[in-house]
Amino acid sequence: MPDLFIHIIVPIAIFLFIATFTLFAVYAERKIAGFLQDRLGPMETGKFGLIQTVADILKLLQKEFITPSAADKVLFAIAPVVIFTAVFIGYSVVPWAPDFIPANTNTGLFFLMAVVSIDAIGILMAGWGSNNKYSLLGAIRAIAQMVSYEIPVGLCLISAVMITQTLNLNDIAYLQGIDSPHPIYFFGFWDVTQIGGVFAWHIFQAPHLLIVYVIFFLATLAECNRAPFDIPEAESELIGGFHTEYGGIKFAFLFLAEYAMMFLVAILGVVIFLGAWNTPLPNIGALRLADWTTGLGWGLFWTFTKSLLIVGIQIWIRWTLPRFRADQLMTLCWKILIPVGFLCLAISGFWRIFIML
């Protein structure tokens, strides 16, 4: 019975986290946008506009359910649930701290990739179910983009997994710090198993993983449909893309899914490439910084700090760069990211065979 209790508590905790994160991420997004555009952002509601997003959510929740009369009512209603659930299930295999992981499975990373791809079906449902040409066009653009960019993401993950030799995200996290079961070499020559810190992260275990991480970051940015890859919801041409017809709590779910996806890809990149919950501080002689800053509480702290930093970069990019044109988007994916991804895949193979063994 306590097992069952945990099975219920953990998803609720994750959901509450996503909801809180979304509230503050929207606030951060507006404040950063304000800063980058040399204005103040929300200031009126609460001190520094802190409860502006709470007010927005309250307004969204009280809104009436409106279903367009020509819409496919079943698909229209189910779509936000499918989209949110797909992203939500993805959180079930992500480690937050040493052995602090909802589901410690051997197929973790593979499972996450598969589950997140269900998102695309939800978007198509929303676009088709709305029976609106802007929604359908937005959905088709979103799918074309997501299906294309899943390939570089997959290639990046395979290159990393060839180095780690495991799909279990908990084990992948362990392989990047002082608790690693295998010896770790910084760039393949300097044994840093006892030193740990930033040198033991995957991006420094093999130099090409740095490039892989950059590809991963760009491709996942496109997977979340965020600027500069946001033609699926280009508001100047398509009003709101696939969620044009949505309002009230259904729109709130689509919004939650979008921000949950942002955090999911950020934490996934952190777990696989940036040392997961491992500390960036190395052991220097008698100064055992890495030993002192490893543990449950510290693990949570590092995971959150790193992931929120990545989310911050995502927001920063959104308000700095203009939107790509559709053909530029596809050119970037198929002619640059995928060939470089394949090259890194080959380097991973050679690195594993000739340097790590």
């Binding site: 051997n106 791809s117 269900i118 079906i121 198509l124 299906v147």
Partner: protein
Amino acid sequence: MTIETIIFYAFAAMAIGAGLLLVNIRNTARALFLFFVVLFAMAGLYLFALADFIAITQILIYVGGVLILLIFAFMLSNKELLKDIQTSSTRFISLANWQSVVLSITFLSLMVYTFVNWSQQMPGWIEQSISKGTLIQAKDNNIELLGFKFMTQYVLPFEIISIFLMMALIGAAHLSRKDNTA
């Protein structure tokens, strides 16, 4: 009745129910989305057979790839053609009635025969592996076992499949090319 049993029957009911609805529904768009439910429930059932790799692959390839292609094909196809399908025929596969009856009865009797036979006496190879203790457990690292098998015992079929997929890819690229060089 354990939780696992309940979940198993829930997935089974979902697969059968959605499948039945899928072949009877007139609305093609909804039928395609019901197909997603069927595939998802089937993936859940694979998990109970300890085939976690197959289950995830099913979702990744069929839901993330094939189903999206199907929906795209549906959306881009001729409206008149679709109307024709939706009105004239209630059959999903265009076999004549008696042929499909024969097919389904054969398949059902095969399954009943196997079930009756196996519930009386397990086949020799299963009893052998039970006695030797080489059964796969839920906690085993199946994906690693699978990797070793693919790269050692089954390396030839694995390579043949990859060459076959490569041929399909090159063929698709060739077909979709504009005919200005030839």
